[in-house]
């Protein structure tokens, strides 16, 4: 496998087409969980795990579906795989890391509907990546998610003590900050890969 292509995909997923700040997928948990840094990190790793495994598992499924011309079944089958994965992660966290499980709360099941996870799987099919490329895209997509959510939650923790106009306290100021971060990430779109 030509590692340059893999690096190209990886760089694309983390910086150039970051799932949250450039492609705007998976914003609900991004806004919901990023109040505290540790839940954000926990959420970030859970998403990396789910995205990586989902890309790996959905690849054979998409091959099977294409072979039988069941393209219309694609969304349902992929979302089933993702949901089962998230349910597994939920059970595992409940047993192994109960504090993180409590902290993530309702946002853990929301990873299933996280547009980024289904997005990465559908993009894998759209760009018809092979198995390794789609797994790399999934994992680096998750790393991009982690990068964005950690950066954002560090800013948000400081926002608690700043005094924006009274109406802007809470979510509005966070949304405006996210907008400005998205603006900065647009700068990466000009990034040229030297080879």
């Amino acid at each position: 496998m030509d590692w340059r292509i893999l690096l190209d995909i990886a760089l694309g997923a983390v910086l150039i087409n970051n799932f949250i700040l450039v492609q705007f997928l998976g914003i609900c948990p991004f806004m919901g969980v990023s109040k505290k840094m540790d839940t954000s990190i926990g959420m970030g790793f859970a998403v990396i795990f789910v995205m990586g495994l989902a890309s790996a598992l959905c690849y054979p499924v998409s091959l099977l579906l294409d072979a039988l011309e069941l393209q219309y079944m694609r969304t349902v089958a992929f979302i089933l795989v993702i949901a089962a994965l998230v349910q597994l992660v939920e059970m595992f966290l409940k047993k192994a890391v109960p504090t993180l499980y409590e902290a993530l709360g309702v946002y853990l099941p929301l990873i299933t509907t996280n547009c980024a996870v289904l997005g990465v799987v559908l993009l894998n099919v759209q760009n018809d990546y092979n198995f390794i490329e789609s797994v790399v895209y999934g994992v680096t997509g998750g790393i991009g998610f982690l990068l964005a959510i950690v950066l954002f939650s560090s800013i948000r923790e400081r926002l608690e003590f700043s005094d924006p106009p009274k109406a802007f306290k809470g979510f509005p100021i966070a949304l405006v900050t996210a907008g400005l971060m998205a603006l900065c990430f647009m700068g990466f779109s000009g990034l040229k890969i030297p080879w």
Binding site: Y72, M73, V76, L80, Q126
Partner: protein, 197 residues
């Protein structure tokens, strides 16, 4: 039977997997999936012919728009990111080809029809499917005037390049990625035919 298979290494206490519990859960999920799959299958069965008809109609309209002809016979071919090539025939003579290609736009692939006359010149470009951002990408893919500027271009002076180079096509400012996407599609079509005036 199910319970034994899932027993763990002797060291760990064997979790009490009583088969009825496992069966109930598996059964429910299985049932839901089967029901949904059946429903989808039926709906698809009902809608498939209509969708194919509409899709074919759309392709026909796009083809006749780029290269009017009586009939189009699909040809077999080997070419990069080209989905289909049709031989355009009007009153018995081959008057050129219609090539269906797709190229990467800014938000996703752009599928287009490129009409090429027998000398290898572009007779027209029309977009079948795109997901470009409205008001930015659509300034290229949605605006027929911009697409008509491709008419008459060919590979005679080398590959079509956007905003520069010998075979110049000046794209829409602010939507360079989309312009490059369409240009790449046209290049692929011309290369697939391989005829240069």
């Amino acid at each position: 039977m199910m319970a034994e298979k899932a027993s763990r290494t002797p060291g760990r206490p064997k979790p009490d997997i009583d088969p009825p519990y496992v069966l109930r859960i598996t059964g429910v999920l299985l049932g839901v999936c089967l029901a949904v799959a059946l429903l989808l299958g039926i709906v698809n069965q009902v809608t498939k012919p209509r969708i194919d008809a509409i899709q074919a109609e759309k392709i026909r309209a796009a083809m006749s728009q780029v290269l009017p002809a009586d009939s189009y016979e699909p040809l077999d071919f080997t070419a990069a990111n080209v989905t289909a090539i049709y031989q355009a025939v009007s009153d018995g003579k081959d008057t050129g080809w219609v090539v269906e290609t797709s190229a990467a736009g800014s938000q996703g692939p752009i599928e287009m029809m490129v009409g090429i006359d027998s000398e290898g010149k572009v007779t027209g470009v029309s977009i079948v499917k795109h997901s470009e951002t409205p008001n930015i990408g659509t300034k290229v893919v949605g605006d027929q005037a911009v697409l008509d500027r491709f008419t008459g271009m060919s590979l005679e002076a080398g590959e079509i390049t956007v905003n520069g180079g010998a075979n110049r096509f000046d794209g829409v400012s602010g939507a360079t990625v989309s312009s490059r996407g369409v240009a790449a599609g046209v290049n692929a079509a011309l290369a697939a035919i391989g005829v240069t005036p």
